[in-house]
Symmetry: D2
Subunit: 88 residues, 4 copies
């Protein structure tokens, strides 16, 4: 079973949390929203989306790719670490 | 009227589009989602959230801040341009 | 004296450290560089450049811009905080 | 020959250009630097460093990793495309 199918429940829960954050943002806009609060809420949504991407991308790397002959096995985790630093 | 209130309708439409993207992502996960398609959908959500942040942040700068005495008036647009390059 | 002139010495020291990092990267490439080490060195340079940008941009905001009438004085620090989160 | 060794000359040229950009930045700071010009120069250095990272990371992926059995061959290029969009 691919990582996406295996993690579907956990990933869906993450997505629903992000949809909930966006729902609160909509409510804030419908009310007398404070600009800074709106900016902070959007930044929080961005952080959650980056976290979602990091999770799926890292699992994708581990499951669908492997170091070729002559490449150390631990290079996968080093690669995941470097890419992860860009997704924060 | 603050920019947030003035743009509430347009911002809400953006947020609903992002919620729709997330809804499609949930459906993909409920079905036989292809990993690369999921990664590309998440990247599209991230781009949309960055666009939303850029819009609100730029309007926030223009409306709530002004160059102090001795600072050229066009420095606001230059500042907005530099910050915008980070939000893509 | 503008923040750039006032901080010139400290900013120059930061820039020299980054040039030093790039010098070590050149030496690594001239030798038998390990790919992962090179990737980690580039990531470190990127972090240092982002730190440099954050420092100059935040000082630039504080010195050349001010909240307009009706905008709370603390909104500058909130704005700097939000922008800073994007420059990490 | 690993991609790093093979591309050492081209990568070194990129690094020297970035060092040159940083040298100009130092000169600007030693003179009567304009803040916005300094900010734009730093943003340009950041873009060049991101380009350097994208180049090395993409070659690293292609050379040291391969799709495992059951994963389409074209998934490497799709993966490189998604990761590349984060390094801009």
């Amino acid at each position: 079973m691919a990582h996406i199918a295996r993690d579907a429940k956990a990933l869906t829960a993450r997505i629903r949390r992000i949809r909930g954050q966006l729902g609160s943002l909509e409510e804030a806009l419908a009310g007398d929203a404070d600009c800074v609060a709106v900016l902070q809420q959007i930044a929080a949504v961005r952080g959650a989306v980056n976290g979602l991407m990091a999770k799926v991308l890292e699992d994708h790397l581990r499951e669908h790719f492997a170091p070729v002959e002559g490449t150390d096995a631990d290079e996968m985790e080093q690669l995941v670490g470097i890419i992860g630093s860009y997704l924060k």
